[in-house]
């Protein structure tokens, strides 16, 4: 058990190391560097040299990678180029804002997804299933920017219930943020809920068809007791992993949603820093987003391990 956990953590760390290499090489081969962008037309001769020295770009790439990596592990990502302030300070409030958005969407999304998934599975191919499944297919396939745009058009412009775009400074307090985030949260939660509901549905259907459930039915276990005691515990376990992957996958979708709603989170920072060729920030963002992805997956793996008694004995064979 302990061996398995350590192995998973090590694999995650190796993945992160490769990610850091990829992003470093990726940003390294981008045409134009920080100094040419920063100095614009004056990017020649002495000024350029001085800038290279100041930002430490005059040493070979591998040396810069090592020193960057050592600092990054300590949480220091260097200086952002556009604002000339430590990336740590730029990232802080952005991470907080994105966390607020994501956790609100998760807290709303997971219970709804569970209920919808279970209802559609138990009433499979009946009216509730057909109706809900049709809606989830729409919610799932339509791009984030379309559902977000439609939400703004209908709720903010036609009905005038809520503000359409978020116009708040980056470091605003939670309660001032609240009315502004309702629409973005709905936009994100909608897609996430649809994905998860479908997975819960197929997981429950699979368990319902299994032999031990058939056995329980034959034994005459009351229907709802069987659902809650035999079906759900077994059906929701494999769903954990898939839910984690969905949340991690949404990191990309959150970028688009944040742009649509002008929300000051990590996603908009991605777009801003790439447009500004702010490479240190891009590197930091890549590492942070990849770490979130890796740790969500790790957490899901560990949860499955803890909750599944069968997997505990598996390590003997490995």
């Amino acid at each position: 058990m302990l061996f398995l956990i350590i192995k998973r953590i090590l694999l995650g760390l190796i993945t992160l190391f490769i990610v850091s290499l990829i992003t470093f090489v990726g940003t390294e081969i981008l045409p134009g560097d920080a100094c040419t962008t920063y100095l614009e037309r004056q990017a020649f001769g002495e000024q350029l040299e001085a800038c290279y020295r100041r930002l430490g770009l005059n040493v070979p790439a591998y040396e810069r990678y090592v020193s960057w990596a050592v600092n990054a592990i300590q949480g220091d990502f260097g200086y952002s180029l556009s604002g000339e302030m430590p990336i740590k300070e730029v990232l802080g409030p952005r991470i907080k804002n994105s966390l607020v958005l994501a956790s609100a969407a998760i807290f709303i999304g997971i219970p709804i997804a569970l209920i919808l998934g279970i209802v559609t599975a138990l009433w499979r191919d009946k009216l509730p299933d057909v109706a809900i499944s049709t809606v989830t297919i729409f919610a799932m396939t339509i791009p984030e920017f379309i559902s977000a745009t439609l939400l703004i058009l209908i709720i903010a412009i036609w009905l005038e219930w809520l503000p359409g775009i978020v116009i708040v400074p980056t470091d605003v307090s939670f309660f001032e943020l609240l009315p502004n985030i309702i629409l973005p949260v709905i936009a994100i939660a909608m897609i996430m809920t649809a994905h998860m509901a479908r997975m819960v549905r197929s997981s429950v259907i699979q368990v319902m068809a299994s032999e031990y459930v058939q056995m329980a039915i034959l034994k005459g276990v009351p229907y709802w007791k069987m659902v809650f005691k035999h079906v759900l515990p077994n059906a929701l376990l494999p769903a954990i992993n898939v839910v984690a992957l969905t949340i991690a996958w949404l990191l990309g979708g959150v970028v688009v949603t944040e742009v649509v709603f002008n929300y000051p989170g990590l996603g908009r920072l991605v777009i801003e820093s790439i447009s500004n060729r702010d490479l240190p920030t891009v590197q930091a963002l890549a590492i942070i987003l990849a770490s979130i992805y890796v740790s969500i997956n790790l957490l899901a793996d560990l949860m499955t391990l803890m909750l599944n008694p069968r997997l505990k004995t598996l390590q003997i064979r490995k």
Partner: protein, 297 residues
């Protein structure tokens, strides 16, 4: 002589298999709707340049933001361009780029996955770690980096999207290969002394083809989503080209008084994505592959 007969029979049954799959797909209501939408969009993409009533890039300041009328069916946009013309042309780039992108993704992802599944060992470990690393970088960050590195022409977007959406196929192909590799016919092919290439071509590909094709069809709809998100963010096709993502992002600022210029491309893009999705779903079901438990990776 006898070999010839076998060959012909095989070919005939292949054709029969394909038409059978299509009939099975169309026999479900969702599959029928999906196929019809997809076919409609493909036909539209071919004929739209000939039936478009106006020039898609003709700017006319006197016709700015006209509401839909008999003359301009879907109204006009902020530069006085006909929204109907731009909407029916708007899917061509998206369809072409994502179709060829998915083919590239299928090819490299499928072959690399099969190769890794077959050889196993150190090579497999290293390749899978790299694939994992690419999977954990959000696609949007990676795509934006590539696009700002190489530009936004079609020749860049097709291989870039193909590369980025193929890494998930690697995993599927590898898993499918693992499933068949322990079977007796592979062992006997090895015992007969066949080369790795011959085993891949004659034994493995026919057995993992279905799983990979289904995955590729699914990737197509995700790639379309990714492509239009890029256009929407201003990192996709460049402005005079009619493209749904770009049209939505342009019209969004004006939608409080000119909603028609945003609704038309939204309907176009959503219907195409739903069409491809339903088709891919029906395709998977017709081949007997259950995709519903998989997360979008």
């Amino acid at each position: 002589m006898k070999l010839d007969n076998i060959y012909q029979e095989e070919k005939k049954s292949n054709f029969a298999k394909v038409s059978e799959i299509i009939i099975t797909m169309a026999s479900r209501p969702s599959g029928f709707i999906g196929l019809s939408i997809l076919i409609f969009h493909v036909i539209l993409a071919f004929i739209s340049p000939y039936i478009a009533p106006y020039d898609f890039k003709a700017i006319n300041p006197t016709l700015m933001l006209q509401a839909p009328s008999a003359e301009y069916w879907f109204g006009t946009d902020d530069l006085g361009r006909d929204v109907f013309t731009r909407t029916i042309l708007g899917g061509r780039t998206a369809l072409t780029v994502t179709f060829f992108g998915s083919l590239i993704a299928l090819l490299w992802g499928g072959l690399l996955g099969i190769f890794c599944g077959l050889v196993g060992g150190k090579t497999d470990d290293i390749v899978m770690r790299i694939v994992d690393a690419f999977l954990s970088i959000p696609w949007i960050l990676a795509m934006l980096l590539i696009v700002s590195l190489l530009g936004t022409s079609t020749e860049v977007l097709i291989p870039a999207l193909g590369f980025f959406y193929g890494k998930g196929i690697v995993r599927v192909a590898r898993a499918a290969t693992h499933d068949v590799i322990a079977k007796d016919f592979i062992v006997s092919a090895r015992a007969r002394g066949h080369s790795n290439f011959s085993i891949i071509w004659n034994e493995i590909i026919p057995n993992v083809r279905d799983a990979i094709l289904v995955e590729g069809a699914m990737r197509w709809s995700w790639m379309l989503l990714g492509f239009s998100s890029l256009s929407f963010l201003g990192f996709g096709v460049s402005p005079p080209t009619p493209d749904w993502g770009l049209m939505i992002s342009n019209a969004r600022g004006l939608m409080s008084f000119a909603y028609w210029s945003v609704i038309a491309p939204i309907v176009g893009l959503s219907s195409l994505i739903i069409g491809i999705n339903l088709t891919a779903d029906a395709f998977a079901k017709a081949l007997g592959i259950d995709r519903s438990t998989k997360a979008p990776v």
